[in-house]
Structures are given as C-alpha cells and as structure tokens.
C-alpha cells in the first residue's frame, strides 16, 4: 500500500492558477474524495498525480519518493476516466489485459488474470465483446477491471459514478467499495457530488477555486464546516450573522441560547431543526411556505420579531407550526463572512 503526498502543487493555464499551492497527504490504503464544483481544479489535480499534466510548481511524492518528473507509465498510478476510455479496436479481454501486455506479461498469464478480473466485476461472459457493444455501466466496470488487474499503487477515479443512472450508481458504488477493500489500494476519487463523496470516502478534501478549503472525515465537513462556502456546498441553508456571549447568540432570530462566543455566522443543518418539542429554548415561529422534496418536506419559517428566517427539513411535519427548537449540539459557529 502506497502513501501519497502533494506539496505546493500548482497548475497554471495561462495566467490563471487552476490549482494553487495544494498540500495534501493521503495515507496508505485510504479512500480520499477530492470534492468540488466543476472548474475547481480537482480533475487537474488528479491529472498531475497521474503524471498526465506537469505541475507549474510543487511536488508529488509516493511513499516519500519524488515522482514529479516521472512519466505516467512509470508511476503505477492508474487513472480511470469518467467515460471509461476503452480502446475501441480491442475486445473487452484485450482491454483488461492491455496494461499487463505493456508490462511484458506472457499471453497465457495475462489472459487468465484478465478473465479472473472480469469475473470479479461480474462481466465473465463479455470477454470477447467489443467496447461499442457494451452499456455505459458495463464499460465503466471494464475500465475499473483494466485498472485493478495491474494492482496499481494508486487508483485514481475521475467521477466514477456520475455518468451512470441512479440504479446503476448504487450498484457501482458498492462494487468499487468492495474491490477497494479487497485490494486495499490507495484510492483518490474526484467528484462534484457531495453525496457520492460522503458515501464512498474515508476523508473528503473540498476544493474551491483551486484551493483546498477543508480536509477531514465526511462527518466533520457535514457537521462542522470550516466556513459558509463549505457549508453551502454540503447543503447548508441557515446562516445568521451576529455575536455570541457564551450563553446566547444575538442575531435576526433574536437571542438564541447557545455556547457561541464572539462575532460570527451561526448555522444549523435544516434537518436538525426540531418542530415538535416545546422544550426549553423553543422560539415562536410562523410558517411561510412548504415544499415536498421526497424524503423530506422543506419548510420556511419566520422566527423572532426581526423577521429572521429558519429553513427546516422534516420527514413528517405537523399541520401547524408555532415554534421551533434549535438543539444546542447542532448549532455551529462559522467565522464572520
């Protein structure tokens, strides 16, 4: 198992820094998600790790050894593209065996290993097919098999699920996770979908505008975002500027009981807002709108005399709402904007 470290990694397109001084360490065997909106530099970073793009500055280290100047074929960091990128003139089996062939593995051995790998991605019967005859999900699995058969030091996945439809996506996610656990390969995946990152990664590195904004386990980014932008990326909608004195926080909602101290932006996840209990610290509220979203209903509520708005998600909201409770443990103070 291989560890990866990026030091001051920088990529430029013209004057624009697509990736600006990225520092990141990935532990051996870890699954890390590089998460961010399109254009944030995450795919550029993945290409630099794979050796397909030369960084303008900075270093890529694998197990402590500098590989920044190594060509891609010497890194054993295999990139799996979003679209599968199967070689159209080769059969499925030849595709899977391609990397072994490049390593000089004899024909019979690479055939056996390719077939065994195809069985593990449950494509046993398709070895002789042409890529053009495969479905999107099958092509993606062939691409995964083609990478894993090499037992690479790093597995780099570019948006592994986003080209698949919902049903296939769950199946593919479980398959990727099972294969990763089996092989223990250090995996870095790039995705713009926070749900995908949360479900698949041990740790998430959130990138915005070419910079790392927060790195940590999914729970930390979800419950304890570093700033409002990170919170928004994970679906945060409640932000109240104000000032706390250690027992209560003064903002548009009025005084909110909580331990926050100093100026900042108070936030709570919409699903953490409670509508039922009339416990201590309940605030009078008036409903101004509701929208059914499937698993939950989203409610817009006006709280306090200054017209502060609270957005709450509830699986089964009561007919009439007269108060809300913001549980102290769920409240989180962000730095002032």
């Amino acid at each position: 198992m291989t560890g990866l470290r990026l030091e001051g990694l920088t990529a430029r397109y013209g004057d624009h820094a697509a990736v600006a001084g990225l520092d990141l360490a990935v532990a051996p065997g870890e699954r890390l998600a590089l998460l961010g909106p399109s254009g944030c530099g995450k795919t550029t970073t993945l290409r630099m790790i794979a050796g397909l793009l030369a960084p303008a500055a900075g270093r890529v280290l694998m197990d402590g050894a500098d590989v920044t100047r190594h060509p891609p074929e010497r890194r054993q960091a295999v990139l799996v593209f979003q679209s599968g990128m199967l070689f159209p003139s080769m059969s499925v089996e030849q595709n899977v065996a391609f990397g072994l062939r490049m390593r000089g593995v004899p024909r019979a051995a690479r055939r056996d290993r390719a077939r065994a790998m195809l069985a593990r991605v449950r494509l046993d019967g398709l070895a002789d097919r042409r890529p053009a005859d495969l479905s999107g999900g099958q092509a993606q699995r062939v691409a995964l098999a083609r990478a894993l058969v090499l037992e690479p030091r790093l597995l780099l996945l570019d948006e592994p699920l986003s080209s698949l439809d919902a049903g296939l996506r769950d199946e593919m996610r479980e398959l990727v996770l099972a294969l990763q656990r089996e092989s223990g390969v250090t995996t870095i995946m790039v995705t713009h979908d926070q749900a995908e990152a949360v479900a698949m990664a041990d740790r998430i590195a959130l990138m915005l505008d070419g910079r790392l904004r927060q790195v940590g386990p999914p729970e930390a980014l979800w419950h304890r975002p570093a700033d409002a932008q990170v919170a928004r990326f994970f679906g945060g909608v409640n932000f109240w500027p104000g000032r706390g004195d250690g027992t209560r926080f003064d903002c548009a909602l009025g005084p909110v009981p909580c331990a926050a101290e100093g100026p900042g932006l108070l936030t709570i996840r919409p699903e953490a807002v409670r509508l039922d209990a009339a416990g201590p610290g309940a605030l009078p509220a008036r409903e101004t709108g509701r929208r059914f979203l499937g698993a939950v209903t989203r409610l817009r509520l006006v709280v306090g005399a200054d017209g502060g708005e609270v957005i709450a998600d509830s699986p089964a909201p009561p007919e009439t709402i007269t108060q809300v409770t913001l549980p102290r443990a769920a409240l989180h103070l962000l730095p002032p904007p």
Binding site: G51, L52, E73, M85, F87, S89, M102, A132, L150
Partner: protein, 270 residues
C-alpha cells in the same frame, strides 16, 4: 427507389466509358456504324507490349503515385493531428493555406518552381516529379486524415500512458489503429491525385519522365483511338480499385478496418 438511384448513378458513371471499351477492341469503326466491323485484341496486345511504352509508363506512374502518397501521408500526419485535435489561434488560416493548392492552378506555381528545380538538379528526374506531386496531393491527404484525428479523443492516449504504455507503444496500439482508416483514405486520395497529374509531370519531368497520362495524351492526339481506348481503361483501373477498397474499408464509420484486423487475427489464432 434506392435501386433506381443506384442504376442511374451507375449509368452516369459507366456509360461514358463504354465507347472507350469498344474502341479498344475495334478495327475499322466508321460513321454511321453502331458497332465496329471487326473485333480484335490487337490494340491490347500492342498496348501491353513493351514497344508501346505502356507497361513502363504504368509501372512508373504507379511508383511515383505510391511514393508521392507515402510522402504526403508522412509529411501530412503532424499537420492533420494538429488540425484535427487542437483549436489554436489561426487554425482556420492554416486550413485555408493547406487548401490553397487545390484552388490555385498547379501550372501557375510550377512554372516558378521549375527554375528552382533546375538549380537543385531535380528537374527532369523522377524524385523531382514525386516531390512536385506533393503540391496537389498534400491537401487531400491532410484533410482526409484530420477528419479521423478529430474523432480521436486525446484522453484515449492519456489512458494508455496511465496503464503503463510508453509513447511508442501508445502510437502502435492505440493511435494508429484509431486513425488507420484516415491514413488509408488520405493515402488513396493522394495516390489518385498524383496518378492524374499531367501538367506538373510535363513541366518538371521535362518529357523525360513519361507517366501514363503523358503517354495517353500523346496517343490520343496522334489519332490512335484503339490504343487510346486500351490505355484509357488501364488508366482507370487503379481508381476503380481504390473506390472498391475504400468503400469496403471505410464504411461503418471507420470501425471497419479495425474489426477486419481483429477478425483476421482471431482467425489466424484459431
């Protein structure tokens, strides 16, 4: 409906050639006879005997066209790759400049080039003719190949590198199979364009390099209709052959060749 269209197209293409074929086997074919008085293979045996110069001219034409096509493909490959895979500042102008020889008459350029070729010792030589044929052949070769490069995703090559292939292996296993249809099409185009050259060959070859079109023209103007008919048909043969080959290889959106290659290999293994 489609059958009728094919028939009409066939008639349009083939009908004008019928008198040529009849001439090549005619003896004494005078107005107002619908068919010649006597049929004979004399013109064919004359045309195929070395004394007529036809076999030599045929071989020379084929050699020059093949060499010129090969050169056009080799020289044109990098340009085709750049034009097909990249959008760069001025790529439209480059494309237009490459097309210019198709628009500007070759004779206009070649009179100026003749002086240069004389000084370089290339005038009146076969290599000189091969070189000058690049003027009309290169645009066709480049544009035909640029089309297949446009369909080649650069990430396909990146993927091969990532899987452990060195650049030479990427070229051999990934890039070449993907662009082979374009190379074949570009090469065939270049071959046929070179095959059809008259003025360029005449000026640069200086009458010393006698290709089939030159010979054909001299027989046609000397009134030997029977020999002209036979040579004319020989002259058409590579075009017809190229049409059949390209139709078989290039239909199926470029996948035909790769599939054929693969099935052949599969058969060999079995």
């Amino acid at each position: 409906m489609r059958g009728a269209a094919a028939l009409a197209l066939g008639l349009l293409l083939v009908a004008p050639l019928v008198p040529l074929a009849v001439w090549s086997v005619a003896r004494g074919w005078f107005f107002p006879d619908l068919l010649p008085a006597r049929l004979t293979w004399e013109a064919w045996s004359a045309a195929l005997s070395p004394r007529s110069g036809v076999p030599q001219a045929l071989a020379l034409s084929a050699g020059i066209a093949a060499a010129s096509a090969l050169l056009a493909v080799l020289v044109g490959l990098p340009a085709a790759r750049a034009l097909g895979m990249r959008r760069f500042r001025g790529s439209g102008a480059v494309r237009l400049a490459l097309l210019a020889p198709v628009i500007v008459p070759g004779i206009a350029i070649v009179l100026g080039l003749h002086g240069l070729f004389l000084r370089l010792g290339l005038a009146n030589t076969v290599p000189g003719v091969i070189l000058v044929h690049l003027i009309p052949t290169l645009p066709y070769a480049v544009l035909a190949m640029a089309g297949t490069f446009a369909g080649l995703d650069p990430d396909l090559e990146a993927q091969a590198r990532s899987l452990g292939a060195r650049p030479a292996a990427v070229l051999r296993h990934v890039t070449l199979p993907a662009i082979l249809p374009g190379i074949v099409a570009g090469g065939l185009f270049a071959f046929l364009v070179s095959w059809a050259q008259y003025a360029l060959t005449l000026v640069i070859g200086g009458g010393k390099v006698v290709t089939l079109p030159l010979l054909l023209f001299s027989y046609a103007t000397s009134g030997r209709n029977d020999l002209t008919g036979a040579i004319g048909i020989l002259y058409l043969a590579p075009g017809a052959l190229a049409l059949v080959v390209s139709a078989r290889l290039l239909t199926g959106r470029g996948a035909g060749l790769a599939t054929m290659h693969a099935t052949m290999r599969a058969k060999v293994r079995a």
